[in-house]
């Protein structure tokens, strides 16, 4: 076992891990942050998406030891300081961007990464960026609407309606 220490949602977290311990396992089982989900475990579905040093990564395909010293952001750190939903989370609720909710933490973290680099994405850009996040309930249209709304844009008519 090796010691690992990182900052998760602004708080220092440390633990003892094996070489093979995945970042997502560390977050869920040692940091107790179970909002980050394991969907496919093969880096296809994006349910495990978190930010490491500001970049979106799939935490099922990164070792905990590779995050030594890193700043990690998960869904648990996304709400506003007063506990209310942030603008992206609220938009997902307003536009029914989730049904079962399993993919939602990854979708919200992916949307946050997109809006940081592209504050006013087009519908096409949103669909392209979310390629690595799979939702089996909504058919994506309401997720795309939610991201458009979160970026302050008109959700009006989107494709395939």
């Amino acid at each position: 076992m090796t010691s690992v220490k990182m900052t998760v949602n602004g708080k220092s977290v440390s633990g003892e891990v094996e070489g093979r311990t995945l970042l997502v396992s560390f977050l869920r089982e040692q940091a107790g942050l179970t909002g980050t989900h394991v969907g496919c475990d093969t880096s296809q579905c994006g349910a495990c998406l978190v930010h490491v040093n500001g970049d979106a990564v799939k935490s099922c395909t990164m070792l905990a030891l590779e995050a030594e010293g890193a700043e990690v952001a998960t869904i648990e750190g996304q709400a506003n300081a007063d506990g209310s939903l942030n603008v992206i989370q609220q938009a997902f609720q307003d536009h029914h961007g989730l049904q079962c909710g399993f993919c939602t933490p990854g979708m919200v973290m992916s949307a946050a990464a997109l809006l940081k680099e592209n504050p006013k994405p087009s519908e096409t850009e949103i669909r392209e960026y979310l390629q690595g996040n799979i939702c089996r309930c909504t058919g994506y249209h309401n997720i795309v609407k939610a991201v458009l709304a979160a970026s302050g844009q008109d959700v009006g008519a989107i494709a395939a309606e």
């Binding site: 094996e18 093979r20 880096s43 990564v57 395909t61 997109l114 690595g132």
Partner: protein, 262 residues
């Protein structure tokens, strides 16, 4: 996956030393190796992560070529090569998905030489050079068949040198589930001629389509390719497409790449 010892050196010299142990394996961004290890198709006793070595990261222009560190992520190549080598940046911007591009590295992709990876097509079509901790290897000598390269045990790709073409483009026909190319074609036009590299199609991995290179070197237009067809012999045939289908796609993707580059 089976457990392993983990090391994260900060210099190439320390990484080479760590890799000299038996069954030690270099780890780039891990976007292929970690899934492979989860399936227990690989079981190294030690992983040597290259992600903390700053000297093998970054994109810089050096005269008429682009020098890209082996540890540079696809996302960084997509952003930083956009002005100098848009064909390469376009390829990098469509590998996998954004989160995969934030981890996966050029060196990792080239060292693995997956027969359906995108970067081998760019390296081969650019007539580039692989720079390692111990030597330089020309692209034409580097690829030696599916998952096989000229790299020795423990040899690390520190950089890749790519001559910048006058015009270039990469087109891929994606297998929609994996997003790997069913067939991908990189076309690069230089003063001295055109190079065409095909990935995804052949059982031997990436290869140059020399008939198309000759036709395009005389006339760089999609119409120059009329009547040319790639042979289906040796092409991959699987549930996603027959060898004949892949051979047909080579022609289609090459024409699209030439049109987009022109």
């Amino acid at each position: 996956m089976y457990n392993f010892e983990f090391e994260q050196p900060t210099t190439v010299a320390d990484a080479v030393k760590a890799l000299s142990e038996e069954d030690a394996q270099a780890l780039g961004g891990g976007q292929t190796l970690l899934p492979t290890m989860k399936q227990r198709l690989a079981m190294p006793s030690k992983l040597v992560s290259l992600t903390a070595i700053d000297e093998i990261k970054g994109v810089k222009k050096d005269g008429d070529q682009l020098v890209i560190g082996g540890g540079t992520t696809h996302g960084t190549v997509a952003r930083e090569a956009a002005a100098s080598y848009p064909g390469l940046a376009g390829l990098a911007s469509k590998i996998g998905d954004p989160a995969v591009r934030n981890r996966g590295t050029m060196g990792g992709s080239l060292a693995n030489n997956d027969p359906s990876a995108c970067y081998p097509a760019a390296l081969l079509a650019s007539g580039g050079t692989v720079v390692t901790d111990r030597r330089e290897i020309a692209a034409d000598d580097y690829f030696q068949g599916m998952f096989t390269t000229a790299l020795e045990e423990g040899e690390i790709i520190t950089a890749v040198k790519l001559p910048i073409p006058e015009k270039s483009n990469y087109q891929k026909f994606e297998q929609p589930a994996s997003r790997f190319p069913l067939v991908g074609v990189f076309v690069a036009k230089y003063a001295g001629g055109v190079r065409v590299a095909v990935t995804g199609a052949s059982n031997e991995g990436v290869f140059r389509w020399t008939e198309a290179e000759e036709a395009l070197s005389g006339d760089f237009s999609a119409s120059a390719l009329e009547g040319l067809s790639a042979s289906a012999e040796g092409m991959i045939s699987d549930i996603h497409g027959s060898s004949e289908y892949r051979a047909h796609l080579i022609g289609v993707m090459t024409k699209r790449a030439v049109t987009a580059a022109a």
